[in-house]
């Protein structure tokens, strides 16, 4: 449309025909390249695009009831519910191996999806709670410390009380990683000097200030 404006101005000034011809050629070139329709918006759907065809206007179709998407058959109860016969499990399912990569992933996912409320420390005083959300119990509460690890998986999947579920945002593998990381957080907060390898104790005892920030980031949890 900027081009349309320039066009009007040239016409008013009544330039000689040859220049006018040149201007017309250049302007039509500009107009052709400036046109943002046809191929820019082809009749195919992009992610989340609005559709006139479906009643709910969603081009991205929900899965029809009673169907299972490929690779989404959830037969393994322990892995997909965190429970056996209605009781939460106390150990991680067999598919999950505990290593640094799992805890790193858990820490990263926890900090994205849980820390806004539960805080990076797990004490339940995150930024959203400070702005008026209900304050959850601290993970360092003895009740939660003794809870089976499947409980955390279950709460992420189904929610708990006022807390909504996070099943749409966190995939099953990541839920287990988060659960493992919460356990590590609990152990880290309950740690005593005896848990520290003898070789590293001098560092902690000599430099108390250095130990505090590490613990408060929960970063020390991974190698406990």
């Amino acid at each position: 449309m900027a081009i349309a404006l320039t066009h009007a101005r040239t016409a008013r000034r009544a330039v000689p025909p040859s220049r006018a011809a040149l201007a017309v050629v250049l302007l039509s070139a500009a107009l052709i390249t400036g046109c943002r329709q046809d191929m820019h918006d082809t009749p195919r759907y992009e992610a989340l695009e609005e559709s006139d065809f479906f009643a709910d206007k969603r081009a991205m179709r929900p899965i029809p009831e009673g169907t299972v998407a490929r690779g989404n058959l959830r037969e393994d109860d322990v892995y997909y519910t965190g429970k056996v016969d209605g009781e939460v499990v106390h150990t991680l399912p067999a598919q999950i191996t505990v290593d640094k990569a799992l805890l790193d992933r858990g820490q990263q996912r926890y900090n994205i999806y849980c820390a806004p409320c539960h805080s990076t420390l797990g004490d339940g005083n995150g930024t959203i709670v400070q702005r008026g959300y209900k304050r959850p119990a601290s993970y360092h509460d003895p009740r939660l410390r003794n809870m089976g690890i499947g409980y955390f998986y279950d709460v992420i999947t189904n929610g708990f009380g006022q807390m909504p579920d996070y099943s749409a945002q966190v995939a099953p593998a990541d839920r287990w990683a988060i659960a493992a990381y919460i356990r590590a957080l609990q152990l880290a907060q309950a740690g005593t000097i005896d848990d520290v390898p003898a070789a590293d104790r001098g560092v902690l005892e000599g430099g108390a200030p250095a130990a505090a920030p590490e613990a408060s980031h929960g970063g020390g949890a991974a190698h406990d």
Binding site: M1, A2, A47, D56, N111, G132, A168
Partner: protein, 216 residues
């Protein structure tokens, strides 16, 4: 017969030749500039949205990670715009009566989608994929600017082909460590080009400039 034109006419011819070239150059550069102008590319302008959602508050003030809402940015082509449920995670309790959030509550009740207006929109003949860029250390900030300072989203890059190519030719000018992809206000430790060259090697970043990379 004497010459029709005096000698001095030669100078006029030369001047007008130069003049034509200059004029042509001027027209070309005006067109060139207007094609790159914000007006044509749509950069730096505000877009009306059904809810005045503010990244300044949510991502900046409260420090919520981009992935809390843009869940698929690491795995898929599209970054994903969060569904109403994601807003209700918090707004079932926080500002639960605010008139600004009325459309969100209405959508939650009726199940009808909130219809956000796209801010960034490439033509359909261009293929773009977020996941590869995130994996190879391209920060949100590099392409989208300081999102954490925007009350309403504005497009900060031209999104023209030359913009894509500028980075595809010289990725070392922009690459950052993977941990910093979601960081806003990242500063390289030392010289960007030096750090960048190391990261390009470490992440095995190729320079993809064949047409079929983006037009497929």
């Amino acid at each position: 017969m004497s010459q029709i034109f005096p000698r001095s006419a030669n100078a006029i011819v030369r001047f007008s030749l130069v003049g034509v070239l200059l004029f042509g150059g001027l027209v070309a550069s005006i067109i060139g500039m207007s094609m790159r102008s914000d007006y044509v590319t749509g950069a730096n302008s505000n877009v009306d949205q059904p809810v005045q959602f503010s990244h300044l508050h949510h991502a900046g003030g409260m420090g919520i990670d981009c992935r809390y809402c843009h869940t698929s940015v690491e795995q898929a082509a599209s970054a994903n715009i969060p569904p109403t449920k994601t807003c209700m995670n918090c707004h079932s309790q926080i500002w639960a009566q605010s008139p600004y959030l009325e459309p969100v509550r209405a959508s939650w009740k009726t199940g009808e989608s909130l219809v956000w207006t796209r801010v960034h929109d490439l033509p359909d003949f261009v293929y773009f994929n977020h996941s590869i860029h995130v994996k190879k250390g391209m920060g949100c900030e590099t392409c989208h600017g300081r999102i954490d300072k925007m009350p309403g989203i504005q497009q900060k890059s031209s999104l023209q082909m030359e913009w894509c190519l500028d980075c595809h030719r010289n990725p070392e000018k922009f690459v950052r460590p993977r941990e910093a992809v979601f960081t806003m206000g990242y500063e390289p430790e030392g010289d960007q080009l030096e750090v960048g060259r190391k990261l390009v090697q470490e992440y095995k970043i190729q320079s993809l400039t064949t047409c079929s990379t983006c037009h497929r």
